[in-house]
């Protein structure tokens, strides 16, 4: 789950990384009381869960006189379709140089990867393409709480010495906050010292509980409802609902729909050992999506009991057509139950998907 900028800044500030003076406001009327603490030049940053907000007009500059009016303007805006409910009002920094610092989970080495470049402030992907030598990389070991000084020296190079403890502090944040990404872009030098002008933290969804989060904000309402039943669910926007067991098989079913020229409405992985009640909830959930005209059920596995699945589909009692591919224990009984009620059961993944695409064509 992505933390918002003000949340990420609060976290890194707790670890001793300097951030600009700033306040979170929910109305422009809160601003006058804060102006003395913010100084003459102010930046107003919309706290919306979307990337590229600066280019989309979500960051506005102001001074003491224009701050309230500018905040009012920003509160009325929509940034990439999202309303602005919160603004982070911050002092403008007198920036001398911009650096980039990030820590991610490296799949290849299976360890944390730290990136630092003196060519910060621009899109890191562009820097990576145009001057790959400018980005310094270090692989750390997750078994140490602190980075050894040599790693800090390798990363910081000729950058000011105050940068090195900041890298280590961000590494602590990364380890202790279960981060998949901890990034400061830009990390800036000013006459007053080094500051994190922006900060980004993504927390591992599998660690939200122990990090004190009760809901995953990255999910839609229906995705959250699915999570309660233990399903993995992703909303798409086609006409064919999809229920599968296992992430790979379900993804592959979606791909096959595209291969045959159809469009999937969703991804729903019911997980292992699906009993009738779980299957019923899954079918009802997918059927509740307005765009769904037909549902493909593709379940395969040694421990999936086909009669249970059949009972679940029948119990759901939905109005849309359900086309089923089942392989596993009690297959014959499952087929008997379904055909008795007039459901279509086909033998292969290709055949169910083809049929569903025909129905929606």
């Amino acid at each position: 789950m992505k933390l918002r900028e003000h949340e990420a800044k609060k976290v890194i500030k707790e670890y001793g990384i300097p951030v600009p003076a700033g306040f979170l406001i929910r109305t422009a009327a809160e601003l006058p009381a804060l102006l003395d603490a913010l100084g003459d030049k102010i930046v107003l940053k919309a706290q919306v869960d979307v990337g590229g907000r600066g280019k989309a007009g979500g960051i506005l500059m102001a001074d003491k006189k224009t701050a309230v009016a500018t905040a009012e303007t920003l509160f009325k805006k929509e940034i990439k379709g999202l309303p602005v409910k919160e603004i982070l009002a911050e002092q403008q920094l007198d920036i001398q140089h911009e650096y980039y610092l990030s820590i991610t989970v490296d799949r290849s080495s299976k360890q944390p990867l730290i990136l630092f470049t003196e060519a910060g402030g621009v899109d890191i992907e562009i820097t990576a393409k145009e001057m790959p030598g400018a980005i310094k990389k270090v692989i750390a070991t997750p078994l140490m709480r602190d980075l050894p000084p040599f790693m800090l020296r390798e990363l910081a190079g000729k950058a000011p010495r105050e940068i090195m403890p900041i890298i280590n502090k961000l590494y602590r944040v990364f380890l202790e906050k279960d981060a998949l990404l901890a990034e400061i872009n830009p990390l800036v030098t000013t006459p007053q010292g080094v500051f994190a002008a922006d900060a980004k933290i993504i927390v591992d969804d599998n660690a939200l509980g122990r990090q004190g989060f009760t809901v995953n904000r990255d999910l839609t309402d229906r995705e959250r409802e699915a999570e309660k039943h233990g399903f993995s669910y992703v909303e798409l926007n086609g006409a064919i609902g999809v229920i599968g067991n296992g992430a790979g098989l379900t993804m592959s079913t979606l791909d096959l729909i595209e291969f045959y020229g159809g469009k999937a409405a969703n991804f729903l992985d019911v997980g292992g050992g699906a009993e009738s009640e779980r299957v019923m909830h899954a079918v009802r959930l997918v059927a509740s999506v307005p765009s769904v005209k037909v549902i493909v059920v593709n379940l395969l596995g040694g421990i999936t009991k086909c009669d249970e699945v059949a009972k679940g589909i029948i119990a759901a009692g939905i109005s849309q057509k359900v086309i089923v591919r089942l392989a596993g224990t009690n297959e014959a009984e499952g087929r008997r139950l379904l055909t008795e009620k007039g459901y279509e059961m086909l033998p292969t993944m290709d055949s169910v998907v083809k049929k569903a695409v025909e129905v929606t064509a």
């Binding site: 299976k110 360890q111 993995s232 798409l236 379900t250 729909i257």
Partner: protein, 291 residues
Amino acid sequence: MIYGDKKTGILVQGATGKQGEFHIGLMNAYAREVGGRGVVAGVTPGKGGQQVHGVPVYNTVKEAMSDHDISASVIFVPAGAAADAIMEEANAGIETIVCITEHIPVHDTMKAIAYATMQGSLVIGPNCPGLLSPGEVKMGIMPAGLFSRGNVGVISRSGTLTYEVVDELTRAGIGQSTVVGIGGDPVIGQTFVDVLKEFENDPQTKAVVLIGEVGGNLEEEGAKCTDLPIVAYIAGISAPPDKRMGHAGAIVEGGEGDARSKIARLKKNGVPVASRPSEIPDMVRKLFCGC
């Protein structure tokens, strides 16, 4: 075959739990069928002295190791205890550790794998179905009925999609040497590169089916560094960006790890890529006849 054979003695952690008990039964039914040793001991802290399907249960891995000849393990403990289970086994000297558990926080996995590597142990998974070498050994939860013995190795990030492909291969008369589910998490112990190295040293394996999905670039990294003939399949061509597709590791992030670019890179390296699972058997056959 790789990672073990009939003679491999297996330990199960989380032996007295619902999953552990169920799969000890299935693993040992398979061992009886092929004349292998199967699961010889279980571990659940505080349940030492009990038995599960006739398999003795111990409180610690070290206690089990002192009574039995064990070189591999399968972990079924809950996510909060799984990293500890991996480290306990590595510390006790188990060579091959298969971790079935899903939803382990990535930082726990990173630490456990780093520790296991220091101890000289291999980790398969987490969030995986384990492995099966037809006629030899089953370590994990794969449905044995779909498999047949042969010369094709299979490496996959998925569970049921692997069964789908194995079923297709078996129906087409193409047997398997070892089928390895490496896991759907962003950080896993044995990656495509590691398993391909094992297959290269295995005289039984003549070709490999590589089943990948969106997220990362380890499929391409693996395919680049082997001389074995490969057929690949990548799931998730329809996956939208920044959404986790069931597996914690199946996510297109920052415009990276999408299926189309992965497929393009594989093809650029001369690897044939199937556009759907049912095409795989024919493509494998073509590898063998060289046409």
